[in-house]
């Protein structure tokens, strides 16, 4: 099912949570809404689900205008951050709940067969008679997913699905969710504030800031070509240096970088910590090492440029230099954004 958001607006009391967001989600696509807290991503997801109604704009499911369809008739599967499993029902009863209240009547045998099938799908065979309090967090989230899938939703919506789980479980569940999605081919929209999760899982990432979409693209597109300093910063560690642009060239200490389409005047140069080579002489920005931090697979070097701007970069574990060493930083893949 294709989903289209057309300039959707939502205001809570006086706080404008979502400013005219338009978005197309193709059938069978897995899309991540990525943004810091307060960026409106959960509000957008809840509006697609019908748990909130937009103040302006429209939401289409296929060609049908779904804006005013209430949640119980909208046919979405919603997975909550804190699972929202019914604590007084067993795992099996939780999964069967949607089928029991559905208008499409199913016989008892049909329901229990489908529950068994879904339990196999989420790899929880044998846990049917446990209560939610008796299983682990990762298992609960899988039950929540099975429960959402049981009603044959047109769209699967997940609100920070792995937010309450610890790191290892998160990574396993991510890969597993991707596998399930590829098997079922159901259009899926999920919300996260974890860029690694979005990049790991999604076909397409929608990055939000203050209720607006700031960039949409495949993980490769947003990583290789961040559209703004915000996206650059939000997707991962980034260094920032103040530079001066003239004639589409950014200048800092006799070093120039290409700055296409940037207006003359002060600007900001961004680069990733991995995109730096330390040189004892030659070209690059003159700098002094302030501190070296050791990590299992690399060394993180903190340095000060000659005009006192601090930068961080990654070096090989064999990096031999210590604090107070002077040298030059050679920056690869720099990106210049207006200040």
């Amino acid at each position: 099912m294709k989903i289209r958001l057309d300039t959707v607006v939502k205001t809570f009391d006086t706080f404008r949570a979502v400013h005219g967001v338009s978005l197309d989600i193709e059938s069978g696509e897995l899309v991540a809404l990525l943004g810091p807290s307060g960026s409106g991503k959960t509000t957008i997801l809840r509006m697609v689900a019908g748990l909130e109604f937009p103040d302006g704009g429209a939401i289409y499911f296929g060609d049908e205008n779904a804006t005013d369809i209430e949640v119980r008739h909208r046919g979405v599967g919603f997975v909550f951050q804190h699972y929202a499993l019914f604590p007084h029902m067993t795992v099996g009863e939780n999964i069967a709940f949607g089928m029991k209240v559905s208008k499409t009547k199913r016989s008892g045998a049909e329901i229990s067969e489908r529950v068994a099938h879904l339990l196999r799908l989420v790899q929880l065979e044998g846990l049917q008679d446990r209560f939610p309090a008796q299983i682990s967090g990762g298992q609960r989230q899988r039950v929540a997913l099975a429960r959402a899938l049981a009603v044959d939703p047109k769209v699967l919506l997940l609100d920070e699905p792995f937010g309450a789980l610890d790191a290892n479980v998160r990574r396993d569940l991510r890969r597993w969710l991707r596998k399930i999605h590829d098997e079922l081919g159901i259009t899926t929209l999920f919300v996260t504030h974890d860029q690694a999760e979005a990049l790991d899982l999604a076909d397409r990432v929608v990055i939000l800031d203050k209720g607006r979409i700031v960039q949409t693209g495949t993980p490769e597109e947003v990583c290789r070509a961040p559209a703004s300093a915000f996206v650059m910063n939000f997707l991962g560690d980034a260094n920032r240096l103040k530079v001066t642009v003239s004639d589409e060239k950014a200048q800092i200490h006799n070093v120039t970088f290409e700055a296409p389409d940037i207006a003359d005047g002060p600007a900001e140069l961004y680069f990733r910590p991995a995109d730096v080579t330390w040189r004892e002489d030659g070209h690059g920005i003159q700098a002094t090492i302030a501190r070296v931090i050791d990590r299992p697979d690399s060394r993180r070097v903190l340095a000060l440029t000659v005009d006192g701007q601090s930068i961080e970069f990654d070096a090989a574990p064999e990096f031999p230099f210590r604090a107070e060493t002077r040298g030059f930083v050679d920056i690869r893949r720099p990106r210049v954004y207006p200040a």
Partner: protein, 297 residues
């Protein structure tokens, strides 16, 4: 304990003198203020033997008072339960203007003296009251009859169920209801199959508290009932009448019924709290039994 060179410095209140004094004060007060009067009621009620006790209870006026009290509870408690559930549901699961005001209004009966409620009903339904003439011409008796007693009791006990449910339902949030509706369940279905099972112990607890207060209510009811022996007397009013008649044994016997009700309420309260009512946490059938040693040192 308070040795300056002791390796474990005493915590505040750890000194034995202080601790024992506190315990002694509390135990003395409990014995004098709570246990002694209850013991006296039990003793006096049976002071002339069980047969006399039975005879007193079987007195027609006393029987009628018991009946009136039971009837009042049978009407007032279900209505207030429905009201409490509706109010708690509305306040915790919906946003609407006046939500906070409703929360405060529900509390009014707790903070106002019951006699004020009784007098207020006099002014509204009494002969000289707002609707007095209309009601009289329509030949509807509210005051000095069962409807007045029920109304006064309802006013006094309106907050009980809601007060039990609101903190619990607030802590539970709206996730479960949202999950149920997103799965296609209707509002009624969500309430009966998802909300109600998760609040049932707290609800039962609220109902029991409400019931014991309805049966024990004196102030508001005494104003509106008219105190007509054998007609509009509830049990608490009847006890007062018996006492003023110098029928101490009768008064104590009738009082022992109310005291027995209190004991039943207490037992139910303890039993329900062990099942999770009154705790601001989602009770879970699957959860382990609460550790009682925490509450009874």
């Amino acid at each position: 304990m308070a040795k300056s060179k002791s390796r474990r410095p005493p915590r505040i209140g750890d000194a034995p003198v202080f601790r024992n004094t506190m315990i002694a004060v509390v135990l003395t007060l409990v014995a004098l203020v709570i246990i002694a009067p209850l013991a006296v009621i039990g003793y006096e009620a049976f002071s002339r033997g069980i047969a006399y006790f039975g005879k007193t209870i079987a007195n027609s006026d006393t029987r009628h008072a018991i009946l009136m009290t039971a009837l009042t509870a049978l009407i007032a408690v279900p209505i207030n339960t429905a009201f409490g559930v509706a109010a708690a549901w509305a306040i915790t699961k919906f946003d609407f203007p006046g939500r906070r005001l409703l929360l405060i209004v529900i509390e009014i009966p707790f903070s106002v003296s019951p006699i004020v409620a009784g007098v207020a009903y006099l002014f509204v339904y009494g002969l000289q009251g707002l609707f007095g003439e209309t009601l009289q011409s329509a030949d509807i008796k509210i005051l000095f009859a069962l409807p007045g007693i029920v109304l006064a009791s309802m006013f006094v006990t309106a907050p009980f169920v809601a007060r039990e449910l609101i903190p619990l339902m607030q802590a539970q949030g709206r996730d479960l209801e949202e999950a149920a509706t997103s799965l296609g369940a209707s509002g009624w279905r969500t309430f009966f199959f998802v909300t109600l099972p998760n609040i049932k112990w707290a609800l039962l607890y609220g109902v029991i508290l409400c019931n014991s207060r309805v049966m024990g209510e004196f102030g508001a009811v005494s104003v509106v009932s008219g105190n007509i022996r054998g007609q509009t007397n509830t049990l608490p009013l009847h006890i007062e009448l018996l006492y003023h008649d110098y029928n101490a044994v009768g008064a104590f016997a009738a009082a022992s019924i109310l005291a027995a009700l209190a004991v039943v309420t207490l037992i139910a309260k303890v039993a329900l709290e062990r099942r999770g009512a009154g705790r601001v946490r989602r009770p879970s059938l699957a959860g382990t039994a609460p550790d009682i040693s925490e509450t009874t040192p």
